[in-house]
């Protein structure tokens, strides 16, 4: 008996000690009452300092506290926000913004042109994805308290829309100078973090900023973010009403979510997956330098079957690396390479490879087992011998960027046409690791950079058509995601966004 007593006493003692060390947090989730919106991001929060900010799923963390200079509509049209007007000069290298007056950060600092300058330069100086969207900025001039002039080293067709996302968000310059932003956000956004109800890593609570200028756009009084990385935990939390919305990372959870009465919305997440051909000039595998070989690869893949089986229906078959929501996309191009292994073999024979050839690809089976199996099988079906190089998943990106492999399965984020060009197509682009160059591609990029409106859209389309004709890659599908919400909450999907922004959520009814 004493043994039991001893165990019990020591356990109770340790539990009390444990409890003393805990932070506070809200454990009981709220049903959709219209008062609180509880979402479960599928990734952990990054530092609150915007210089370290990522895009995609990360944006939801920043949206409650930080207001961006511009606001994007669900179809990604640029609307006024902190900046009420914006215009370029004739050379499109100076962007002048007129700021809303009277806006203050929650620490009382004024949001003026100096604050905007401090933020843009601070974020640009960082080392994350948001910083990457500001690389064209060469300087920022404070014209007067409400006017700021952003100078660019070269025209950047994506800059204005990017200022409507994380890259254009504003933090208190006082907090930037103090260096306290990494762990405590201070913004001018619709909400402010409630530290007493926040436990880093498990619950982030945001309450209304009483001085926010545009309260009507944010119907919920409180936003709670509870990161949940396990798909089963996400589904259980949704079904028991502990959270109002979350991404269903596993397609297997869609049917159980629907049968539990949850709303499940499918939308294009912005990623494009498939086989990316890095070695278009045949530097590693000579055969890939021949356009007929690259076209053969495109005919080798049965895209709709891959989407149906390997992707469990979560994707739209495509031959293009551009986002379907962007102006470069042309749906007619998707029928360019129907599944035709005979035609593929014929093209290989014409190019002088009747027996195929060998390629070494990195192993992605630990993360994308079905996709890897589909790629290997369908390439081998047309006579291409695939050797899978075992490398740890954590080394995959570095190895690909170092130009180690001629081709691979990959999924890359596809934003606006100009972003995709800068990230994947231009000679110096990060995801053009072997620096493929084609005079026509370079020419179209140069023209599109300075063009505007319909002319620019036409140039983007022309470039896309050329890249598909030249089979620069063999994409399979634009990835689709499922986002589930409980009955009391509705949302509108957002173009170019991995998850809907918090301002697209509304109480139902």
């Amino acid at each position: 008996m004493r043994r039991i007593a001893l165990t019990a006493v020591s356990a109770v003692l340790m539990l009390s000690v444990a409890a003393c060390g805990s932070g506070s947090g809200s454990g009981s989730g709220n049903a959709a009452t219209g008062g609180t919106l509880t979402l479960a991001p599928v990734i952990a929060a990054q530092p609150w300092d915007l210089a370290d900010a990522g895009l995609g799923n990360n944006a939801q963390y920043y949206q409650p506290v930080y207001d961006p200079l511009l606001r994007l509509s669900p179809t990604a049209e640029v609307k006024p926000n902190l900046a009420t007007k914006w215009s370029y000069d004739a050379a499109r290298t100076v962007l002048t913004l007129t700021l809303r007056s009277g806006v203050k950060f929650t620490d009382g600092t004024a949001l003026d042109a100096a604050a905007v300058k401090a933020n843009l330069l601070h974020t640009k100086g960082g080392s994350s994805e948001a910083a990457g969207q500001l690389t064209s900025i060469s300087g920022v001039d404070v014209v007067n308290a409400t006017t700021v002039a952003i100078k660019l080293s070269a025209p950047d067709p994506s800059l204005v829309p990017n200022l409507g996302n994380v890259a254009g968000m504003m933090a208190s310059p006082k907090a930037i100078t103090a260096g306290t932003l990494k762990t405590a956000p201070v913004g001018s956004g619709p909400y402010a973090m409630d530290k007493s109800a926040t436990t880093a890593g498990s619950t982030y609570t945001f309450v209304r900023n009483p001085d926010y200028w545009n309260k009507a756009a944010f119907p919920f009084d409180k936003i709670v973010l509870k990161p949940l990385t396990d798909p089963t935990a996400v589904l259980n939390a949704l079904r028991s009403g502990q959270i109002n919305g979350a991404l269903l990372a596993s397609a297997k959870n869609v049917a159980p979510a629907r049968s539990s009465g949850l709303n499940v919305t499918k939308y294009t997440s912005g990623d494009v997956e498939g086989v990316y051909i890095w070695d278009r000039e045949g530097k590693i595998v000579k055969a890939l330098g021949d356009v007929r070989v690259r076209q053969a690869l495109n005919y080798a893949f049965d895209r709709s079957t891959i989407v149906k089986t390997a992707k469990q229906g979560l994707g739209k078959a495509t031959t293009q690396i551009f986002n379907p929501a962007g102006s470069a996309f042309d749906s007619s191009l998707d029928s360019k390479y129907p599944y035709d292994p005979t035609k593929a073999k014929q093209l290989l024979a014409e190019a002088g490879y009747p027996q195929g050839f060998s390629v070494t690809v990195p192993d992605v089976s630990s993360v994308f087992p079905d996709q890897q199996a589909a790629m290997v099988q369908q390439l081998e079906d047309i006579g291409i011998k695939v050797k899978v190089d075992k490398i740890p998943p954590t080394q995959l990106i570095s190895a690909l960027l170092a130009g180690k492999y001629p081709l691979s399965y990959m999924t890359l984020a596809s934003f606006r046409p100009w972003d995709t060009i800068q990230i994947e197509v231009a000679k110096s682009a990060l995801w053009n690791p072997l620096h493929s160059e084609d005079p026509k591609v370079t020419d179209l990029i140069t023209k599109a950079q300075s063009a505007t409106g319909a002319t620019q859209d036409a140039l983007f389309k022309e470039l896309n058509t050329y890249l598909v004709d030249q089979a620069w890659n063999a994409p399979w599908d634009s990835v689709e995601s499922n986002y589930a919400t409980t009955k009391g909450v509705t949302f509108t999907p957002q173009a170019f966004a991995a998850v809907p922004p918090i301002y697209n959520f509304k109480p139902a009814g």
């Binding site: 444990a18 805990s22 932070g23 506070s24 994805e129 954590t394 960027l401």
Partner: protein, 313 residues
């Protein structure tokens, strides 16, 4: 006794140091690329290099380990490379979650396995067979499956207890108890099975011993016989199993925390390990090894308290 304690604590400290050094070396040798994961898919190589330098990853591993160790000795376990949170603060937030479910599971297994083991040893017959059957079943079913069934049936369908999330004890005692019940039960099932078998076996042996027969012949009450004499002698073996179970429970917590969406040490260890977040992994390892060392010392003390024969000078 003091010499024994000092010797055990010293050995424990050496163990922590050896494991910390090995872990640091292994983290460095895996060749993972945490910087690319931190900065994202589209960050430039210059940004990668800048982040690398910021984290000190451009320095040799021995130098980095020296810095880490010097800081750790002063109680500073560094900053998470991914979240910029202090590792010490983060552990202080997450340790209560894991300890709550592990210790509750340990308590449950101590109580239930004793009740079941003693009952089976004393009553024998059908009850004994039933307990043994349940023990085998409990041992065979993995804790993640038990956790999944509990979460879906009790948490989602019946709605009796929360299916996910943790409420700190400081916020609400009732909420805390509700939030840890299902995870602790899921964890405890295997431990109860193993310990009940041990208690039963030891009790059966002790009850057959000559001194029990002698005591019984002297007319001592059955209750006193069972709990004052038999159980006390049967306890050390069960206690050893329980101490081993603690380590197993900490491992099991990794899975159970994931299923119940609890942000404890277990889920932190897995995510930090896969990302290559060295400061967090080191913090988790050091703290967990220290806890295991402390539990083992406590168990040794309890062992000596229960059985004076094993007390050492």
């Amino acid at each position: 006794m003091i010499v024994f304690l000092v010797r055990r604590i010293a050995a424990g400290l050496v163990l922590v140091l050896v494991i910390a050094t090995t872990t640091f070396a292994l983290m460095g040798l895996t060749g993972s690329d945490p910087v690319r994961q931190i900065v994202g898919q589209t960050a430039t190589q210059q940004q990668v290099a800048a982040k690398s330098a910021e984290l000190g990853l451009d320095q040799p591993m021995v130098v980095r380990y020296g810095h880490w160790l010097a800081d750790a000795v002063h109680g500073d376990l560094g900053i998470s490379w991914f979240s910029s949170e202090s590792v010490t603060t983060s552990l202080a937030n997450k340790l209560p979650v894991t300890l709550s479910i592990v210790l509750a599971a340990l308590l449950l297994s101590a109580v239930l396995s004793t009740v079941l083991g003693v009952a089976a040893a004393v009553r024998r017959g059908v009850l004994d067979q039933l307990v043994q059957f349940l023990a085998v079943l409990g041992f065979a079913v993995p804790s993640f499956l038990v956790a999944l069934v509990f979460a879906v049936v009790i948490g989602v369908h019946l709605g009796w207890l929360p299916a996910t999330g943790y409420v700190p004890l400081a916020d609400s005692a009732g909420g805390w108890l509700k939030s840890i019940t299902l995870p602790a039960l899921s964890l405890a099932v295997g431990a109860i099975a193993a310990t009940a078998q041990q208690v039963r076996g030891s009790m059966v042996d002790v009850l057959r011993a000559d001194y029990i027969r002698t005591l019984r012949s002297r007319g001592i009450s059955e209750r006193s016989l069972l709990f004052r004499h038999a159980l006390r002698n049967a306890a050390p073996a069960a206690l050893t199993v329980l101490a081993l179970q603690f380590i197993g429970l900490v491992g099991g917590a990794v899975v159970v925390e994931k299923v119940f969406g609890l942000n404890g040490i277990g889920s932190q260890a897995t995510s930090a390990g896969s990302q290559g977040d060295t400061p967090v992994v080191m913090g988790v390892v050091v703290v967990m090894v220290a806890i295991v060392v402390v539990v083992n010392i406590l168990m040794d003390l309890a062992y000596g308290w229960l059985n004076p024969k094993v007390r050492v000078g």
